[in-house]
Symmetry: C2
């Protein structure tokens, strides 16, 4: 059985907060769950990571350039917000229907380069994606291992839209200690035939499973997944970077 349980009691995060410590404390206070054990996975909405790392920009400090002003007019968006998005982009793939689809500096293809459309309450600031989400995952894994005696698998998530399908799904933008992909190619299926072209995006499915377990208002950024031991690794592994399809193999850019 696979289970996904949101942790209660993670406070509003501020730059510099020790998120690892807060997570371990929240786990200890969760009376219905045993302590962290080998094979556990923690799935974490990137916003708390970004905030702890100070990946926040005050819109008041942003000077919109010509391109941001033009795009903002075309898309009916705030030019300050568009400038922040452009600063997080390596490429704009589409700017249409009021939507800006970007390739982020990390290589993720998503709306608004992952810059949150809503501001941090009372600050006029927007939250960016972590600069290096795989490094964030590795650091958090190390910190939690230090405090809890076990290194959990870590998946850092964001909600991405998808080509061709309505609705957003949570996917992995960073991970450590879990297989981002589970490669079944060459292995026999249940009928003993070789499975072809089957590589499962495990970290993305962990992200989606955790999202379903969260409260509707998303006040639960951290979700504990149990029963996924077979996807957990002893080392940090390649991270969610392995989930990015290289441009040369991409039929839809």
């Amino acid at each position: 059985m696979l289970s996904a349980t949101p942790l209660a009691g993670i406070p509003e995060i501020r730059p510099g907060d020790d998120l690892g410590w807060l997570i371990v404390a929240a786990l200890a206070a969760q009376s219905d769950q045993a302590a962290l054990t080998q094979g556990d996975v923690l799935v974490i909405a990137h916003k708390v990571i970004s905030k702890a790392e100070g990946r926040i920009r005050a819109l008041a400090d942003v000077q919109p350039g010509e391109r941001a002003i033009t795009l903002a007019a075309k898309l009916d968006k705030d030019p300050l917000h568009v400038q922040v998005i452009l600063d997080e982009c390596q490429e704009v793939l589409r700017a249409d229907h009021g939507i800006l689809i970007c390739v982020t500096r990390h290589g993720f293809v998503c709306a608004n380069a992952g810059v949150d459309a809503s501001t941090v309450p009372g600050t006029g600031s927007v939250v960016l994606l972590p600069a290096d989400p795989d490094a964030s995952a590795r650091n958090l894994r190390r910190r939690i291992a230090e405090l809890a005696g076990h290194a959990p698998g870590i998946v850092i998530t964001d909600s991405f839209g998808r080509a061709w399908r309505n609705g957003q799904s949570d996917i992995a933008i960073g991970c450590a200690g879990v297989h981002p992909l589970d490669d079944w190619r060459g292995l026999p299926d249940a009928a003993g035939r070789e499975l072809r072209a089957t590589v499962i995006a495990v970290a993305d499915q962990l992200a989606g499973a955790a999202d379903l377990a969260r409260a509707k208002d998303r006040s639960q950024p951290v979700v504990l997944i149990r029963g996924a031991e077979r996807y957990v690794t002893a080392d940090d592994g390649p991270g969610a970077a392995a989930l990015i399809r290289p441009k040369s193999q991409d039929l839809f850019r």
Copy 2:
């Protein structure tokens, strides 16, 4: 807590099999789970649905046309297999890198129009997607309600590749009795701000969560999800058709 438990004991399915009866029997035999209760969701790999519905084609009966022969040569595929794919397609979006990305008759964008690359053992036949997966879900839901006294949510899945990301993820091709999409637009988030542009692809995330719980060789086509009551509906609902983005709103066709 959300949980996903694969059902043991679903046999190899043949055309005409009463899948609802087999699932209810498998549930009854599952000693570690209580009987089906209100709010349960059953996530089912489409292959068993397709087989029960006879959605199988013998390659020996296929006559490849000129387009199939040309595409097969270009992509290094079997012309018989390509002809079956073309018969399931309304449009070929890409034919490159050995990959055929199609719009199926239902409107799904996926590789090979969902036609399984491997044949059914000993038959030389390939398995197609159900003709109307939402109808399949509704029928199965009705049959299980008849036998078990409760109508579960039903999600029928396939593994789809994604634009821009490596690896496949299970998604919903049919559903009944669950919200395919959970629309949070206009609702306040945890900080009391209005959430914008947030529509969660619940049925797809249920599909992905179930896939993680399955045995690696995928001999477990049916997964029971508990703790997802808030996504379960009294009526059949709009089905997975609601997850298909209309072509007019699609920036990547």
